[in-house]
Amino acid sequence: MELWYAILSVLPFDWAQPGQMYFMKHALLAVLVITPLFGLLSTMVVHSRMSFFSDALGHSAFTGMAIGAICGLNRPIWAAVIFAVIFALLFNLVRRRSALASDTVIGVFSSTAVALGIFLSTLNGRSFTKFNSLLIGDVLSVEPAMIGVLALILAAVLVLWALSFNQLMLASVHPALADSRGVKIFWQETVFSAAIAVVVTLSMTWVGLLVINSLLVLPGAAARNVARNMAQYHLFALLGSVAAGIAGLMISYYLGPSAGASITLCLAVWFALTFVIRKK
């Protein structure tokens, strides 16, 4: 962390000066870890039409927090991670076994998870308000240890991307063709959705439940407006995601709104820009 503080001290911002505003420095580092993570995942979320699924995962993450809180855990977030992963695995299993369309299965799971979350968190007449902070998120509350965890997850997702992106892409384009070339579709999709589950849950506290899905959809959607191949697609998604993350955090610092919402709005502007300059 000392190294990070030293790097920042060369910046001409008042908060970047040594010995103060540590929460802002942590937040910036967290944004620099979270946004490439979401940028990477968003390429595949958009490509394989899973945006509704990732939205549902956000809801289930909140339910996991409620379960963790009821069990009296110090850090209910780990309960939430486990719950979200189970949710993702169950969803994949049911989708594979059932003849229903994907979005119908997601609807079933999503509404069940939300209902369970509200039921548990308001049991015995408890107030829901303590979960309000989850809905909006607060990136300024991030701790250095958590940034470390997120950096590890970013590294894990990079490894996953290096090993199985090709298979994931083939499976989303044409399952039968992928199968004929030896791709284990079920396992690829399961690992990918579990990865989304972990990332969404861990970032929820800072980004905010209500806008977290936008980070998984907008970078990929914007990049599709202009990219012609996979390398460009990833480049634009990552650039957009990181740039919007930094810009959003600055807006949040100087004007005071929630960082999650600011980042999302910056992404929306990025989407609008790419939409205008896209080649038809």
Binding site: A176, A227, M230
Partner: protein
């Protein structure tokens, strides 16, 4: 590149041969295929015809080993003993390679997947979200040249015409060069010129690589121009033989609810 020795095609003894014997498939209690038997020699093009739901795709999936089946599917190289397709057993020989050209996958026009991305993703370990290095690019170009499609390399998959997409899928199925090539409805969504080009290409490939080609089609008009053999399938093999023989058979007319000429005459 692997080349097969071309034997004179006189029968199963000399040529390599794909044999289906008593193939039966049940899916969720429904009998999809029963007692399907036929031979396909290398260098031969067989066309599979039949109404929708006749079990054509199921037959392909059995040969590809994607679903469980009863009966046997074996492949015997020229002069060699038969190898079971499912597991390569019997001789311990290696399983024959089956190339598969699926029904056209759905690409959106805006999909940021270039032909090079698609090719590299399917044939190499290099993750395609990184810029694709020269060696893979050259390999993909070499594969595409087999279907005269080098110029398609940097095009977006979603922007290809039906015929171009079929050629790219065909190039993919030929890497590595298979023993048996299966094409699912390759002529649907392809215009007349593309169709002509594709059929010529198949003809070229079977002589060049000595492939057994099995394709399904609804286009009966062109059958006579390219198929050595037509197999009429509707849950079971109803008729098998040269195109003109099958197309003029009562089984063909029955299956497609056609009347024999006008007023039952002719």
């Amino acid at each position: 590149m692997r080349k097969l020795k071309h034997g004179k095609l006189t029968g199963c003894a000399d040529a390599c041969c794909l044999k289906l014997e008593g193939l039966a498939v049940r899916l969720e209690g429904d009998e999809i295929l029963e007692d399907v038997s036929f031979h396909l020699h290398c260098g031969e093009i067989a066309a599979l015809i039949g109404p929708n739901g006749a079990g054509k795709s199921t037959l392909f999936r059995s040969i590809l080993g994607q679903i469980p089946y009863q009966g046997s599917i074996t492949f015997a190289p020229a002069g060699g003993p038969a190898i079971r397709l499912a597991d390569g057993a019997v001789t311990g020989g290696s399983r024959p390679l089956v190339g598969y050209v699926p029904q056209s996958p759905s690409f959106d026009r805006g999909d940021p997947v270039s032909v090079l991305d698609f090719f590299t993703a399917a044939t190499a370990k290099w993750p395609v979200w990184l810029p694709v290095p020269k060696q893979y690019r050259e390999r993909a170009a070499a594969c595409l040249s087999r279907v005269h499609g080098e110029e398609l390399l940097d095009r977006a998959m979603g922007a290809l015409s039906g015929g171009q997409l079929q050629r790219v899928l065909l190039a993919l199925a030929l890497e590595p060069v298979p023993h048996i090539l299966i094409l699912d409805e390759p002529l649907s969504g392809v215009d007349i010129e593309g169709e002509h080009q594709l059929l010529e290409m198949l003809d070229e490939l079977r002589t060049q690589y000595d492939l057994s080609i099995l394709l399904s089609t609804h286009d009966f008009a062109t059958l006579g121009q390219f198929a050595d053999k037509v197999i009429l399938l509707n849950r079971r093999v109803l008729k098998e033989g040269p195109p003109d023989e099958v197309l003029s058979s009562p089984e063909f007319y029955d299956t497609f609810h056609l009347r024999m000429g006008r007023g039952g005459e002719r």
